[in-house]
């Protein structure tokens, strides 16, 4: 019998979707996705989650709920770190257990990555394939192939962005944020729309060469150990000379961004920056006003410098 696997389109989906999709398709598993975030998914998630959780996590729970009853398993990865200096936020350490405790009767499929305990991604995927009844060789083959496609896609996006950075005129704005905020249609959709209406070119911090970004981050904050924040900081450092302004986009109350954005604001000088915090009560008018004045300021600045 063919398995159906549900994939919530939230959190790490926005980072690893090519990897997941290819891997499970190669194994011959049917996939169903929870779809882009809607207002209804958010409301469900907000009602399910403990109030102090960050908004992306609440949305994630809404996505899981949306998959309930439609598949045999739901994929909930648990990723602790990719090595001592590449930690993930505590959120991802507890992702499996929080979901399991919130939906005790929901069958979950899980893989566990913990580089510091010799449990790297390859091993995690091979183990997961084994649990699904595939041989290690099949698992390994599918993983290698999927990983390659994932890397290709990342590189492709980086090249595209680098190209766009050279060719495009007009204001260039870097959105520095976790990928699951920037690429979520509900969380950042409004923001991107307003920015494009104002004629700004948008660049994303997660579409820069990751390994270079990780190294570049050291020159700004040497003690930072959260991988995804390091990539954001590194992207800022790399793109600093080419862009007009930065939008630090975060969701309330993001644990890592609270500290890292504070440090970015204090350490990056001579570049206009605005921090925008999204929560579940987001109103269009407030966002519009802030973005308009930010863009106005950038345009004025550009005119003076020209």
């Amino acid at each position: 019998m063919k398995l159906t696997l549900g994939i919530p389109q939230a959190l790490l989906y926005h980072r690893y979707h090519v990897l997941w999709k290819t891997f499970f398709e190669l194994l011959g598993i049917d996939l169903i996705f929870s779809g882009p975030t809607t207002q209804k998914i958010m409301t469900t998630g907000v009602n399910l989650a403990i109030d102090e959780n960050c908004l992306p996590f609440k949305i994630f729970l809404g996505h899981v709920e949306a998959l309930r009853g439609r598949c045999d398993y739901v994929l909930i990865p648990r990723i602790e770190n990719y090595g001592y200096d590449n930690m993930m936020c505590e959120r991802f350490l507890g992702l499996y257990d929080t979901v399991h405790n919130t939906f005790p009767d929901l069958p979950l499929l899980n893989y566990n990555v913990c580089g510091t305990r010799h449990q790297d991604e390859t091993r995690a995927f091979v183990q997961m394939a084994k649990e699904l009844g595939y041989s290690p060789a099949t698992g390994h083959y599918a993983y290698t192939k999927a990983r390659k496609l994932q890397v290709d896609q990342e590189n492709h996006r980086c090249e595209q962005q680098a190209q766009k950075l050279i060719t495009s005129g007009g204001l260039k704005i870097l959105i520095a944020a976790q990928p699951y905020i920037t690429h979520d249609s509900l969380l950042a959709g409004q923001l991107s729309q307003i920015l494009s209406e104002l004629g700004a070119n948008i660049f994303y911090s997660d579409q820069c060469c990751r390994s270079t970004a990780l190294q570049a981050a050291d020159s700004i904050t040497p003690n930072l150990f959260w991988m995804m924040n390091k990539e954001t900081v590194g992207a800022i450092q790399m793109l600093k000379p080419q862009i007009d302004g930065i939008i630090l986009l975060t969701a309330y109350p993001c644990g890592t961004d609270a500290l890292v954005n504070e440090l970015i604001i204090r350490r990056i000088k001579n570049l206009p920056m605005i921090q925008i915090v999204i929560d579940e009560h987001q109103a269009q008018a407030g966002l519009q006003t802030r973005l308009e004045s930010f863009i106005d300021m950038l345009q004025e600045r550009r005119r003076l410098h020209a």
């Binding site: 505590e90 507890g94 257990d97 929080t98 399991h100 609270a258 204090r266």
Partner: protein
């Protein structure tokens, strides 16, 4: 490094007495200036210069640093492991520098908390520091921590039932004073014997089946009574036996993720960050020991503890025993907490009455 070193560090419970001794042992000749006791002003100062939604311990620590620097300190000690706490040092240093303070920060965070690296870092303040002095100072400090936690644990469980009000408090402050004056391992052992005897002599009227409440949660909120509105004292006033496993002793010697995971096996499969697993394991231990209720405390937005909360709620349901969740930030309105605490105490008292009848 400045000519005359004046050390300071953030407060947490009564551990400042031991830290002061530790620094004096590490650097004879250096001055130690613990920050003034935490007041609402400390928190106000800390919150004013902290990022918006960082956890409360960050704000307390920063407030302590500002007050210590204002009092004349020039070397600050900070540490950090586990969660966001590991990144405190760098951000706090930047904030204080931006405020215009001139100081050195020795941050024993993450890999720098390992003995060898810690030694190298601490040597920066005084090149005459040698391995012998280093290990002796830390040995003494650990022994003092074990003693202090043991004494405070005993007091916590019994203070609600003392026959002469205030007898434990008097003994406690006397003990802290004596502990600050100990200089050798022998003195600590003597102090241990002496105070265990003195504590046993305090007359206690413990009922056969007292109300028992266990406290679990995030370490700073648990160990710094100012940040939890002295909740343990309030509970003791209502004649409740209060237990808390979380302490510096536990963090140094008792914390084993594997062991906690085994204890919490039905509820957690993986560690959920910092002390999340410990909270679940301890809560389960309390319920299995027949405790009447558990209070889970944390600072607002503490991710590891939020990760543990769904598991705690399931535990509470499976054992049909109550867990109360309290979150603390910079809000100093005591009445809100008091009302909830009173309701909780009334509820467990009534449940006990029904269960015993």
């Amino acid at each position: 490094m400045p000519e005359q070193l004046i050390f300071s560090f953030p407060h947490m419970g009564n551990y400042h007495i031991i830290l002061k001794g530790l620094i004096e042992d590490l650097y004879p000749g250096a001055a130690v200036l613990p920050p003034p006791p935490i007041t609402s002003r400390t928190l106000e100062l800390g919150a004013r210069y902290s990022p918006d939604f960082v956890c409360a311990p960050f704000k307390y620590n920063l407030g302590n640093f500002i007050e210590a620097l204002d009092a004349g300190a020039n070397v600050l000690l900070q540490t950090g492991t586990g969660c966001r706490f590991a990144y405190y040092g760098e951000v706090q240093k930047q904030i204080l520098q931006d405020l215009g303070y001139d100081f050195t920060m020795l941050c024993l965070a993450r890999e720098n908390a390992r003995p060898r690296n810690a030694y190298q870092l601490l040597q920066l303040a005084d090149s005459k520091l040698n391995p012998g002095r280093f290990s002796r100072a830390f040995g003494l400090a650990i022994k003092k921590i074990l003693l202090m936690d043991e004494i405070e644990n005993y007091i916590r469980q019994n203070v609600g039932f003392e026959t002469v009000p205030g007898s434990f408090t008097a003994l406690h402050s006397q003990f802290l004073q004596d502990l600050g004056n100990t200089k050798t391992f022998l003195q600590i052992s003597t102090l241990h014997r002496q105070y265990m005897k003195l504590l046993a002599q305090v007359s206690v009227n413990m009922p056969a089946e007292p109300l028992c409440v266990g406290i679990v949660g995030e370490l700073y909120t648990l160990m710094e009574p100012f940040s939890n509105f002295y909740i343990e004292r309030e509970l003791a006033k209502s004649q409740i036996k209060v237990s808390r496993i979380m302490s510096a002793t536990f963090l140094l010697l008792g914390k084993k993720d594997k062991k906690s995971l085994r204890q919490a096996s039905r509820y957690l499969k993986y560690p959920v960050g910092a002390n999340g697993v410990d909270s679940v394991a301890q809560c389960k231990q309390y319920f299995e020991a027949g405790y009447d209720g558990v209070i889970h405390m944390k600072s607002y937005g503490c991710t590891p503890e939020i990760n543990a909360m769904p598991a705690l709620q399931n535990l509470s349901r499976d054992y049909s025993s109550p867990v109360m969740h309290l979150s603390f930030d910079t809000q100093l309105n005591e009445t809100g907490i008091q009302t909830r605490l009173e309701a909780f105490v009334d509820m467990i008292r009534m449940r006990k009455g029904i269960l015993l009848a």
